[in-house]
Assembly symmetry: C2
Homo-oligomer: 210 residues x 2
């Protein structure tokens, strides 16, 4: 016996280097009921990228049309390209009892919050220390000192937005942080208002039909 | 590195026979940070019971004084005796970052809700079916048919109050239900507003002291 439920939107935010990407990947591989949100973008498709899987690749005119029609739950311009979250696939997943994972910053979270408050569960990942954050950013061999410095400045900005999140995880240890995100997901799925099949189930139970 | 937090009050309610007592015992033995709330009562102490551990045994006059002084978070009369939750030990535990478990009915939950809303996490355990509930009540050898019938009637009343709870767990399987309650506890401990040490920690992080 199971009670049908509405899916939820799980947002993971953190400064780059706090461990968010590792945690997201682990979550997607360990939790069958959740999938990554696929963004729409105006940037050119790179070799190997699949339309509708990595991104929905859109012409700028079409992207603007989606904005005008309120078909994007959030959108932003990054390095001259537009990125956004199409509403349709998210609504379909939620109605179908599937959860959707978002790896976005505080600005995207604020936009989602404004449109989808009841479906949103927001988690902010905090690095254990500034020294550790810097060490992790530097260990990415491909990044120049300048890029690291930029990321540290951006991290300070991102960190100031922690009060806008529902849950805060101090990422001392990846195993423990993955377990914490999974606990949040399990708990949020048990929230009464997400279990949309409950009124029917309880009626059956009270009337002795269940 | 850990961030100090305020404890929480975890309420487990269910009709008798839904499995609440088993789940409570497992939770107390597996989760070090939570302890059972100790009630005050006017009923006589039974052999083997320890004052301050099983109950705080009080004279009726003293119990009434506690009610008048608003020293009880909730109270009720059951079979001619009074039972209630003293405020002091709960407040001490919460301030100390410890969680408190309550095994109470919907009436007690409503009273706690009125006084301690921000600290309260309420969980309602639902039996998988009426037949299973009856089977579990009957398997308690000590109960007469009359007692079972009374409990079934009380169960129907209790079940009607599920919309007042934060989380609903369908108790198909004890292992899964214990894991669900533990996930709720872990998640609720990660709620931003319970992590009272966060503002200081984040200040240190932004200023590079952490």
């Amino acid at each position: 016996m199971a009670i049908s439920r509405r899916g939820l939107m799980l947002v993971l935010s953190s400064p780059s280097g706090a461990g968010k990407t590792t945690i997201s990947r682990r979550l997607l591989s360990e939790e069958p009921g959740i999938r990554m949100s696929v963004s729409a973008t105006t940037r050119a498709r790179r070799p190997g990228e699949v339309d509708g899987q990595d991104y929905f690749f859109e012409q700028p005119e079409n992207f603007q049309l989606m904005v005008n029609r309120d078909e994007l739950l959030e959108h932003a311009k990054v390095f001259g390209n537009y990125y956004g979250t199409p509403r349709g696939p998210v609504e379909d997943a939620l109605s179908d009892g599937k959860d959707v994972l978002f790896d976005i910053d505080w600005q995207g979270t604020q936009q989602l919050e404004a449109k989808m408050r009841d479906d949103l569960v927001s988690v902010f990942i905090v690095p254990p220390s500034v020294a550790e954050l810097e060490r992790r950013l530097k260990s990415r061999a491909q990044d120049s000192d300048e890029v690291v410095a930029q990321r540290m400045a951006k991290a300070a900005d991102e960190l100031s937005h922690y009060p806008e999140y529902d849950y805060i995880i101090l990422n001392n240890d990846v195993e423990s942080s993955v377990a914490s995100v999974r606990a949040i997901l399990r708990a949020e799925r048990l929230k009464r208002e997400r279990q949309i099949g409950l009124p029917d189930f309880m009626k059956g139970l009270r009337e002795g039909r269940t």
